[in-house]
Symmetry: D2
Subunit: 291 residues, 4 copies
């Protein structure tokens, strides 16, 4: 369910990465090879940093492959850092407020995967949110709640640590409610300066996640590929699945791993370990209410 | 903000009431005379009883006046009881899950008006919901929360009493949070058998609400009006504003009044009095969560 | 590209055929087995006969599988005769006026397939339309032009003969313009009384088309299948691809064949033979215009 | 019907002009003061020059005032030259291909007004198009046909002269078909370098059109208005109606006038005189077609 990608590097026309790349994310919306579902046609979103204040976000309920406006924006907006997400809805409505990326201030967030039996956990998790953030949840996906939990737990100070706390909290709550295998997926986060990605599942194999290899290596492997020769020293891609079959050009991110990209610092990986937490259990009902 | 209407009577092509009536609800979407805003173009919805299980609901984010599909449905579906709502959004996103009528089982609900400073109250009120109903709130309007509060407080047993309890609870909560003039508006509710409507404001003049007069009277007043001559003995309309300027054909529902329509029983009115309630105040944060 | 189905029989909730049938047309929108493309997510349409004047048509640019309103309409509208179409756009925009079925008065029309190099033929073919019908073409598909050509050539008097003339005209025009293999596809037509279907390709194998077998046979083959036991004597389905793998329940319509369904008359098949025609070649430019 | 505006000057965040200006074009979509209709809620479009090849175009069928994506694009895209249009549909469907601006290569085109009885003229005018341009007409508005006629008649060489020929051709054709008062409106055209605008009606008062006054004058008149002080020497606006009531800041373009804006050359006006033309009458039917 869902595929996403992040571009981190020199400013490019978004088009170059979204449409002009073989088996790019838009192709994956129509036919994904490695996703849980082959079709990711239940809306999409593009969040980009560039002109103006904070990131811009374009979201639509139409499939990415057929959305004329996405082609226009991609073909006429340059950005050094953007996240795109194509959605395969599993239960929640197809509406723009359910399309990723989600945004808070300068922050963008995408998720591929799910919280198991989310309808059993939604209320508990919503009440664990910072009350200030509560009314900011405008859609009905699990992912948006995860993002706001992470914001509650310090995303803006330390994204990976906050996601470890969030994952721990969700797992503890799920256990309390008798829900198994609570967290599944990959996460992408950015503030316009850095890009963070996580691949994790409570149990079993998490959704796939790849990082583009060192640019020099890639260029050396494919000296005749014009597009790859244009890659700059700092250019990196994080993707749910590789854009094309180029052996050596993509590194699979191992399960339970967090990736950090910062300007001039290359790709940094470290283990991702959910932080122990008490379950977030909301009282069963406001005592004021009785019929 | 918003206009709505309910038809209760003989089965008619919805078209007859929606489009073929001068200054009908669709005209009001483009130019309302008595609404708080002249334009109600931020989506709309139609809920109807007829074939199939429970009510059907068609909702769209396009303005009602331009939606080709609404004309098709209205022109090809018959119903003895339906509710239509045209929306003027005030803050919450234009999306189908924010369009009225809202539905739960056999029940439909529409609202014209608002809960004051709803962002300050949303969390408290969500917390007061029956936990089973919590995940059913899929949009971000105040109206959807009001509906689920009313369901929590017995709407399916006694709609008017439940709305009195709901209003009392909201007012108490608002007072506790320092929010004034909490509830404003008119409400419409149906289960496919009866139709209930309420006109109420915590203070000041509530949104307008009208019921069509006794059918015999209307026919007598306008003996040459073909459309009115077709009205059956039991046919009634409840509307935010009258469809056209026909003196004597419409009764204004007084403020703080509840209206009940049941087959063969005419229009019954009684005072609407919010029930005293303790405020619904949610704990400030799940104790499990601390950064 | 595209899949369609027609129901012809007793009045049913559309739902029964659209959503409650294994591998029904809505499933096919997400994953077609026999179509030229696996995904038919570029909009859809439903045209039905029932209440009101002429057929109702609901069309949407969202994929059929995710459209909440389609489920509502299907679940609450009964019809003895309806056509549904799911679209895989090939070049022309995803917009409601490009979604099938197309309508003219009481007539509905669907098409699965294409006119080869249509951009080279569009002007000639538009020019061959009855001038009264010219402004009725509101979208940009080949199919809508084919329908209006067939109306020009007598569809309302004899649907199959008109489609034979239309096909002949298109083939002659294509030949004149150097376009090969002009016509490909299956067509479905109804006036609310009869249902006509054609399977044809100028050369090669035409798009697949199936008719449900004689009801008694089907019931006998699957005595334990409740849904099939409910089929009435006259109930028939015409489909681009069978709903499920039930040997004996579906007859493949042979290439170059026209099918006619009329109440009480079963399925009638006859060869489909394009009528010889002169090409429809439009003058190169209005003589009034020169720069 | 419809309102439009063009910005021509220094690169600005589109936002500044679209949303942050009192009574800007988006406000006019909800409540126009000088338009033929107060509400222009039947879709809109934004065409801008900047990054990428040729202009980008974002079009939507939702009202401009409620479209979240328009706010995002406007807030995150800079452009020195853009055209925006808000639509009040009169008869033709609300679909993206009917939203202005229309585009051909580097050219953008907007229109406020109408061709009288267009359904009587559409066929004649379509056959007057350059056959190469015929399949480029993808929607069903009069405006799109006018644009392609102007392209046929030399828009890319001399926009004003081409619009004079186009107007003459339409008027001659209308007269031949017995249609009066054929052309009404204002037109805006750009190639990313210059901006051209025309105000014209065959008879009577044409739709309103204004140009912003000389920047120095405007600054002098309103020395305390921060927004106006930021205007650069070359900055100009062309608008269907002034953004706010600032006496002296706007010049009304007289009827039958063409305006040309070029970098460093200020505003140039000259009379707009339709060129004499023979009517564009299409033969009544392709001789090949007879039933």
């Amino acid at each position: 369910m869902c595929r996403w990608m992040g571009w981190f590097g020199q400013p490019v026309l978004i088009d170059e990465v979204l449409f002009k790349t073989p088996h790019g994310i838009v192709d994956q919306s129509l036919l994904s090879r490695m996703g849980a579902e082959p079709t990711n046609g239940d809306g999409f979103g593009l969040g980009w940093y560039g002109a103006g204040d904070g990131p811009g976000v374009y979201r639509s309920v139409e499939p990415a492959w057929g959305d004329a406006n996405l082609r226009e924006i991609a073909g006429h907006v340059e950005s050094p850092l953007f996240l795109t997400h194509v959605r395969a809805a599993i239960g929640s409505p197809v509406q723009e407020t359910n399309c990723h990326p989600f945004r808070h201030g300068r922050w963008l967030f995408v998720h591929n995967g799910f919280i198991a039996d989310f309808h059993l956990l939604r209320r508990d998790l919503m009440f664990a949110l910072d009350p200030e953030l509560f009314p900011e949840v405008r859609g009905s996906t699990d992912s948006e709640v995860v993002f706001h939990l992470a914001l509650t737990l310090g995303l803006e100070q330390d994204p990976i640590a906050a996601l470890e706390r969030t994952t721990g909290l969700i797992e503890a709550t799920a256990e309390r409610r008798g829900v198994k295998d609570a967290v599944q997926g990959s996460f992408g986060v950015s503030d316009g300066v850095g890009l963070w990605a996580v691949r994790y599942a409570t149990s079993g194999q998490p959704r796939s996640l790849f990082a583009s290899a060192d640019v020099e290596t890639v260029r050396g492997l494919y000296p005749d590929n014009e597009r790859l020769q244009k890659l700059g020293h700092d250019d990196r891609l994080i993707v749910s699945e590789p854009f094309s079959d180029l052996p050596g050009a993509w590194h699979e991110i191992p399960p339970s791993t967090a990736v950090t990209l910062r300007r001039g610092e290359g790709v940094e990986m470290r283990p991702f370990r959910p932080a122990p937490a008490a379950p977030a259990v909301a009282p069963e009902r406001s005592p004021a209410v009785s019929v």
